[in-house]
């Protein structure tokens, strides 16, 4: 065909029903629904990943602060400590005296008790331990740093209430009447720093009473802090909660007003406690440091004394038992089923059985453990070895299935080669096939262990919810595990426990990530394509 003919035909009218304007219009609509469908897919994937991001970031956000804590190294009066018997001293009294000594102006019983509560109730125990570890510190100022209370700690981490502080530049007159301090400002000065609706409109309106349920206003005058309870157009009045008001001059410059966003009635940390805590910080006694209590202690009813180590040890003990049982049995079962078992009804039954066992809800394994291990065999409740048994039964199918896949991926030529030089079938498997399949088997085992580490429900059934203060010291001693610890902490209402829970989750996730990374590296490093 010549080019001339070509061009002649090229201009010929196309007759296809697929190129009419109708068809083109339909096509446009079809492409729109194509785009919509694809967008739906992206949206689904994005939603799933968004959930992950929100979940993890909320936990990291809440959990990270729990890894640091505020400790106070107050000057201690240790004259009463008997150097020959350090355990006996009245450390509780020493701690209380130390904190009260910081605020000599407080005289009422309520105030002295409240100020003492700024230190953790576990502080005396911590002090005793530190003194025993380092008796020389008794003669050194600030040698021992003790945990402050959980609420004081939360306050210092900015999680009780935020506040705004502003300075009134005008000169104010001070009138002290018993406990009550009244500051009078020039007209209009208050309105410059407080919200317009906070200050009464004019002198005629009665003074505004500041209740615990609304605005919390603190007035800083020199060394004195006044908690405002009345407000007029030009005056602020209230009781001094820090410092000696009688020593105030008649007129002052630069008064600072601080208003807290959360009203006093809505928080569990009063204005007084806030001011006192600030004072301790200003005096340089408080320092923020790694929360070693969380890292080294067992369970406690006090958030600040609660640690994760007990649960970590419990998890480790449980997993050791799980691994010691599930790994050899699982690999052995996989070897038999994959390499030796004849194809008959019995082995099919075993296979179906294993697949179903892998899908049985974990809590059913807990019921099994309760009925068989605890009730029938009479094993101890809360013991890591029983937990290990239960988790081993639960992990077994996972390990068997993973091991079979790994064994199957070793090509038959390896077996034939070994058999060909006179090895027995068992020798062929144990000397040649198993070593080649080992990376795959280990990967499966680690993933199974990671799942066992995160498992909670079956362990609740066999009593691993015990409240265990001491660190577990053996396979039979009462213990709890990480996820169960998290579950128990999540039940405590204190906000500090919420932090501990998140921190506990972070610890658990770190272990899980480490295990899974090991599995991935193992797979990458030893993966073989035949």
């Amino acid at each position: 065909m010549t080019d001339q003919l070509m061009s002649q035909y090229a201009t010929a009218e196309t007759r296809s029903i697929h190129t009419t304007s109708d068809a083109r219009g339909r096509l446009k609509r079809r492409y729109r629904s194509e785009a919509n469908f694809k967008a739906l897919g992206v949206a689904a994937l994005a939603t799933a990943i968004l959930f992950l991001v929100v979940l993890l970031s909320s936990i990291v956000w809440k959990g990270i602060p729990a890894f640091v804590y505020n400790f106070a190294s107050l000057p201690l009066d240790v004259a009463g400590v008997d150097r020959t018997d350090l355990a006996k001293a009245n450390y509780d009294g020493i701690v209380k005296a130390a904190i009260r000594a910081q605020f000599p102006e407080l005289t009422s019983r309520g105030d002295t008790r409240l100020v003492a509560s700024l230190m953790s109730s576990g502080a005396p125990t911590v002090l005793r331990d530190q003194v025993q570890d380092d008796p020389a510190g008794l003669d050194r100022a600030g040698a021992y740093s003790l945990p402050i209370s959980d609420f004081a700690d939360l306050y210092l981490k900015g999680q009780i209430s935020s506040s705004t502080t502003s300075t009134i530049a005008a000169t104010a007159t001070v009138r002290v009447d018993g406990d009550k301090v009244t500051l009078t400002f020039p007209a209009g000065a208050l309105a410059t720093v407080l919200a317009a609706d906070a200050v009464p409109a004019n002198a005629a309106t009665p003074p505004r009473q500041l209740l615990a349920t609304d605005l919390s206003l603190l007035v800083y005058v020199g060394d004195v802090v006044v908690k405002a309870d009345g407000l007029t157009t030009t005056t602020v009045s209230g009781a001094a909660i820090l410092g000696d008001a009688t020593k105030l001059p008649a007129s002052v410059n630069a008064v600072r007003l601080r208003s807290l966003v959360v009203p006093e009635a809505s928080r569990k940390f009063s204005d007084k406690e806030i001011v006192w805590t600030d004072a301790l910080v200003e005096r340089g006694y408080v320092r923020t440091g790694f929360n070693w209590i969380f890292a080294t202690k067992g369970a406690s009813r006090e958030a600040e004394m609660a640690g994760i180590l007990g649960a970590v040890i419990g998890s480790a003990l449980t997993l050791i038992v799980t691994l010691a049982l599930a790994f050899p049995v699982g690999v052995a079962a996989a070897i038999y089923l994959e390499e030796f078992a004849p194809r008959n009804r019995w082995t099919t039954f075993i296979e179906v059985n294993i697949n179903n066992l892998a899908a049985v809800p974990s809590i059913v394994f807990g019921l099994l453990g309760l009925a068989v291990f605890l009730n029938f065999f009479g094993f101890e409740r809360s013991a890591p070895y029983v937990g290990g048994f239960v988790l081993a039964l639960m992990t077994l199918p996972t390990i068997i299935i993973a091991s079979r896949v790994a064994l199957r991926s070793v090509p038959p030529s390896i077996r034939e080669g070994a058999l060909g030089i006179g090895a027995s079938r068992l020798q062929a498997v144990f000397h040649h096939v198993l070593p080649l399949a080992m990376p795959g088997i280990l990967t499966g085992a680690i993933i199974g262990m990671a799942r066992a580490l995160g498992e909670t429900a079956p362990l609740l059934m066999i009593g691993m919810v015990a409240f265990v203060v001491d660190l577990p010291n053996g396979f039979a001693s009462a213990a709890t595990v990480l996820p169960v610890q998290i579950y128990m902490w999540a039940d405590f209402p204190e906000p500090a426990f919420e932090q501990r829970t998140s921190a506990g989750i972070l610890v658990l996730l770190v272990f899980l990530v480490a295990m899974n990374l090991t599995a991935i590296i193992l797979r990458r490093r030893f993966e073989r394509r035949w």
Partner: protein
């Protein structure tokens, strides 16, 4: 336990010694002509260890399992009618206490306790000596037999291999034993429960409040308990939360799988797939914490803002988070089945001028439907059996409602609350947990078996 550990270590040490002894004997017999041995010295060593210790080891295991029940049996026989006169809970207390007395950790407070304790002590003495003697005979006998058997022509390897094979078979039977253990323990405890509460009243009753259960025997108690152990509200609660979870997970999981397998570039796939796997790897207790402390309050807050009364333990919050948990489950299973659809069908559809979404909607999904349905069945089974999310985020009160904003309870929540912290295993309350467990096991088993069967058939179709 520590005693068991010591025994195990002793066994291991003995095995090591015997192994070395056997090896040396084989070497000595072979002399310079090592090739005259049928089996290598290693096998002779293993053989000696096996014949000496294996029977003893088996006996030890059996003894560890049966000694306590056996002792109980003998003591009960010895006490005779005095024991029969006691009520069921008292019997167990007596036995437990008598053991403590016999072990010297408690003092007897009654004559029958002292008698039982004496019996325990006697049995303990007799059986300990007896078993030790039998073990010694077994070990020595094995040793002598093994020692004599070792000879250059002896096929030690066969014995060793047969033993290993037996162990392999035993290991693969563990799965069966586990299933058997689950089924038997659930059934036995459930039968005891149904002695106290009529079966049909349990399955079809609409009132669940185990706290008000009666203890004791007799028709009256049974009738009364029948009224408070009606599990329908528990079942409907489970279904409600499961339905919400599937409602969340099915579209998101399925669409994600479709996007990943049909649209995504390899780069996107290599990032998104592991992320979804991370979602699957997060322990359920973490989801529970998130549901209870973040999502549920958020819903409650949101509800009160728009004037809805949302329970702080709403089925919605628990269901939503459970849905998120099973998204990766649905997506990875769907991914598998979608990838199993042969490329030729995609080509066939594309060759007719179908767009990608038309191919997916009209060819791939219908072709993969059996697989997708069974994936959803597995997901449902997973959701029904999921425990921690609902324990932490769903309620305890068994409300018969379909309102997702109300609090409902589930089978797993009830199992946990009925059993945790309760040490009395004979009350209708604790036994009810096993009956619920039996229902849970049966339902999930049926779902799993059917789903796995369908998936297998489906795969065979395209293989």
């Amino acid at each position: 336990m520590t005693l068991g550990l010591i025994a195990l270590l002793a066994f291991a040490a003995a095995a090591a010694i015997l192994f070395v002894v056997g090896m040396q004997r084989a070497n000595a017999l072979a002399g310079a002509q090592i090739s005259s041995l049928h089996s290598t010295p290693v096998y002779h060593g293993s053989f000696l260890a096996i014949v000496s210790l294996f029977p003893a080891f088996l006996l030890g295991l059996v003894w560890a399992a049966v000694s306590e029940p056996l002792a109980d049996f003998v003591v009960v026989r010895g006490l005779g009618t005095d024991f029969d006169a006691l009520a069921e809970p008292d019997r167990n207390t007596l036995l437990r206490f008598a053991r403590a007395v016999a072990a010297g950790t408690a003092d007897a407070t009654s004559e029958i306790q002292q008698r039982a304790a004496d019996l325990f002590q006697r049995i303990d003495q007799i059986s300990t000596w007896g078993i030790a003697a039998i073990l010694a005979v077994l070990i020595l006998g094995g040793l002598v037999f093994g020692w004599r058997a070792i000879a250059p022509a002896y096929r030690a390897r066969h014995v060793v291999e047969r033993t290993v094979m037996a162990l392999l078979i035993a290991a693969s039977a563990v799965a069966i034993v586990t299933t058997l253990g689950i089924v038997l323990s659930l059934i036995f405890e459930s039968i005891r429960f149904f002695e106290k509460v009529p079966f049909f009243q349990f399955l079809f009753g609409t009132h669940w409040s185990p706290q008000s259960a009666f203890e004791g025997a007799g028709a009256e108690t049974s009738a009364r308990n029948g009224e408070v152990f009606g599990a329908i509200p528990v079942f409907t609660g489970t279904l409600l939360i499961t339905a919400i979870a599937i409602f969340v997970a099915a579209p998101i999981g399925l669409m994600s799988a479709i996007y990943l397998s049909e649209y995504a570039t390899p780069r996107v796939r290599s990032i998104a797939k592991p992320l979804l796997e991370v979602l699957a790897g997060i322990p359920t207790v973490v989801y529970g914490f998130f549901a209870a402390l973040t999502v549920a309050p958020l819903f409650r807050q949101f509800g009160s803002n728009i004037g809805l009364d949302v329970s702080s333990e709403s089925a919605l919050a628990a269901g939503l988070i459970m849905g998120v948990m099973i998204i990766p489950f649905v997506s990875s299973l769907s991914d598998d089945v979608i990838n199993a659809v042969p490329q030729s069908l995609r080509d066939g559809s594309a060759g007719l001028g179908a767009t990608k979404s038309e191919t997916i909607q009209k060819v791939i999904i219908p072709a993969a439907l059996p697989g997708i349905v069974s994936a959803l069945m597995l997901a449902i089974s997973r959701a029904i059996g999921e425990t921690m999310i609902v324990v932490m985020a769903a309620g305890l009160a068994a409300n018969l409602t379909a309102n997702p904003l109300d609090a409902v309870t589930t089978v797993t929540v009830q199992i946990v609350t009925l059993l945790v912290g309760d040490q009395e295993f004979d009350s209708a309350k604790t036994l009810a947990a096993f009956a619920l467990g039996l229902v849970l096991f049966c339902v999930t088993l049926v779902l799993n078996i059917v789903a796995l069967q369908v998936i297998r058939k489906y795969r065979e179709q395209y293989d």
